[in-house]
Symmetry: C2
Subunit: 442 residues, 2 copies
């Protein structure tokens, strides 16, 4: 086998067009500039920034981004024949979609960090990329700087992924960590996250779990070859978590984390995102603050976790540039599109939540009356749910004041647990609807 | 940009030659067989196993490995023109070295999982690979199934790695976990590791830290561009750790782990492997049993951890096949050697251990006599080392029996701490030499 030096008769440069030059875009420009020599060596050609689409060309930007490259007209990037790779870091959905389609159709490879877009329209975009024989890479769209796409796509190339459990929303994780460590209420913790810039003014997409569901849509494609719509992901946020849940969980040896969970059962997939109790000494329980993590399970590999900053301009820019290098290498080698062609996704049946089995944490707020424990226990018993551990807080035998009873169940079908709780909702001693949190032993 | 389909005029197959068909080799054969279709799609050509070197051709093997491919003569693999990639999973040093050199010189790319060889002679092998214009890939040589080489090489391609802290010896980690969780003595824990197959009959290379030092040599090249000899790595094993160290560490909120530590200070590198106290709630503290982890710190990326099975036939085989795919893709694209050419390593100065700053755990075994605390404290004070916390165990004011005193120091230069301890070694109350364990706050 004789190798061909990358420079013999091959292109000397790969042209880059940038859509958006906000914080991530500026980070990309800086990394490209600072690492130019090393990157050129890895690619086998120099990476040259050719055009940068911005909303306001007058705004002051990094010196690494010459004013002459700026344009406010998308076609000046998309139709520029010098542009081989379009880097989309502008965010949003419709405009970004149109520009990416335009780039792909023009035979340009695309690197995008747009999570919402990839989650909602990844199917269409990947199809267009394959049809055009170019690459669509998106490491930056999930988990910021964490190399999770690369690990799924490359490290596990010969393995079968059976499960994926992750902490993929930094806002939720910060809020839960803060509630546990500082004893903050949910609202106080959210306010602190906003003050520190870890949460948007409207944090509902993060706190409600939708952001995590988007990430699961993207990862399910790579992990399980499944085309998943966000409606197929059972999505719960952390809005119902109270300080008492943290305290009781800790007493049982658990911590509460907002998880993304995907499992491949062969016939069906399990796809959900919600708060869960995880063992306090597990690695996931110790991922704190705004950090993210994804724990993959490969049939041959066993567990494999990647962890790091799940958001932020610079970590995301590192992921974007790693994609640019991979895509540019393939262009130089004349095999653009090879990476993307292998991404297969099919519609796959999703297991109904009621059929999912796990252990549960159930917190009842009841009036402290004689016989209340018997009512709770017998209702769960009738539904076939057995109780493994129980804590009662302030339950003092019949003073009529509200008290908390928390039970951890053995493994049970969710439908059975829900039936028992529905049954109890109308029990006279019940002060509030019971609170249910799943337990994940990963 | 027009893409070239991988099949147009390009090779249809990539031939593989396997050196060694023990447990890892069999795992590789099985993964190649089971994943053939998907792998071919990713490579753009089929991966065809052409020849397998074994010691004993009569031994019964997996059905995936036809007897007709077996040979006991290395040249039947190395000189076979159908072999494009040689996969070395035979282990050992001298023979493996000669075969790999033979393969590289014959223009074949090589994938190796041979840690010892890469640590000791990686320089020479990488030079030969670059000279021959082929690739030498070695994800399987460090951390079994953990994608640490790939993360350093690809995810961090545009970033500067400033630190690498890892748990990279599964035997040490199992033994320490067992001492902490079951209260075993070191010897009992080692015996259990041997019983479970996690430790060799002669476990000294693992327990003494040499294995971890080999891994640091390999990773320092990728992380810091440094050519490191194992003699440059300050290496301590876990032989001196006693159950009391685990108990006291836990009381202070720490756990003891055997770490690999590399830091790039710009002018100098820090390179060491030894037991250390890590905060109980850190992710590294919660990597237990035979699992491994590597925490990288990128200047732009921030912290990034990869974690998983650091050894074992199947996880290692997953890494080997991921390398085979990457190398084969480059062969199909006509750019063999591109990956390896970028690996640069230079001799770099290593900071003397005495100049390294950290916090320390110091355990004294002293006779319980009046004034003994004053002697310990004033010796450290004279050396400029200040004490942050102190625990005394069984020190009861003057009964003359041996007692333990443990101090955690503030940050100090190691030379200063060692000077104080040397001073104390001859103190009349000292029953045993003081025990020093570094504290790592990562």
């Amino acid at each position: 086998m004789q190798s061909v030096p990358a420079s013999s008769g091959k292109r000397q440069r790969v042209g880059l067009g940038l859509l958006g030059c906000g914080t991530v875009g500026s980070g990309v420009v800086e990394l490209l500039h600072a690492g130019a020599t090393g990157l050129a060596q890895r690619v086998g050609a120099s990476l040259e920034l050719v055009r940068v689409l911005v909303r306001d060309a007058a705004k002051v930007r990094s010196d690494d981004c010459p004013r002459a490259l700026l344009t406010t007209r998308p076609d000046e990037v998309l139709a520029d024949p010098r542009v081989d790779v379009v880097i989309e870091v502008m965010g949003g959905e419709q405009e970004a979609f149109e520009y990416i389609v335009g780039a792909l159709d023009a035979g340009k490879s695309v690197v995008s960090a747009n999570k919402l877009l990839l989650a909602r329209r990844g199917d269409v975009l990947l199809e267009r990329a394959v049809a055009a024989g170019v690459d669509l890479a998106f490491e930056g769209a999930v988990g910021g700087g964490i190399p999770i796409v690369r690990t799924l796509r490359e490290a596990l190339v010969s393995d079968r992924v059976t499960a994926l459990v992750g902490i993929l929303n930094g806002t939720c994780n910060f809020v839960l960590s803060r509630m546990l460590d500082q004893g903050d209420s949910l609202m106080a913790a959210v306010a602190e996250a906003q003050r520190l810039g870890y949460a948007e003014a409207d944090a509902s997409i993060d706190l409600g779990g939708q952001d995590a569901a988007h990430k699961l849509c993207i990862l399910a494609r790579l992990a399980f070859g499944a085309a998943v719509r966000e409606q197929q992901v059972h999505t719960e946020g952390i809005e119902g978590i109270e300080p008492i849940d943290h305290h009781v969980a800790e007493r049982f040896g658990y911590r509460i984390k907002h998880l993304v969970i995907g499992r491949d059962h062969g016939d069906e997939l399990e796809l959900r995102t919600h708060p869960a109790l995880v063992p306090a000494r597990s690695v996931l329980a110790n991922v704190s603050g705004v950090l993210n993590a994804a724990l993959l399970e490969g049939a041959a590999l066993g567990p494999c976790l990647v962890y790091g900053r799940g958001a932020g301009a610079r970590p995301t820019a590192v992921s974007v540039v790693s994609d640019v290098v991979a895509v540019a290498r393939d262009i130089v080698a004349g095999v653009a599109g090879l990476q993307t062609r292998g991404i297969r996704a099919a519609e796959r049946p999703v297991r109904a939540l009621g059929d999912v089995e796990s252990r549960f944490y159930v917190r009842f707020t009841v009036r402290d009356e004689p016989g209340v424990m018997a009512v709770l226990a017998s209702s769960l018993g009738r539904a076939g749910v057995s109780i493994e551990q129980l804590v009662q807080d302030g339950l003092t035998r019949g003073h009529g004041a509200p008290a908390s009873v928390v039970m951890l169940t053995h493994r049970a079908r969710e439908a059975a647990v829900r039936a028992a709780l529905a049954d109890l909702r109308s029990a006279p001693a019940m002060v509030e609807p019971p609170r249910l949190i799943r337990i994940e032993e990963t």
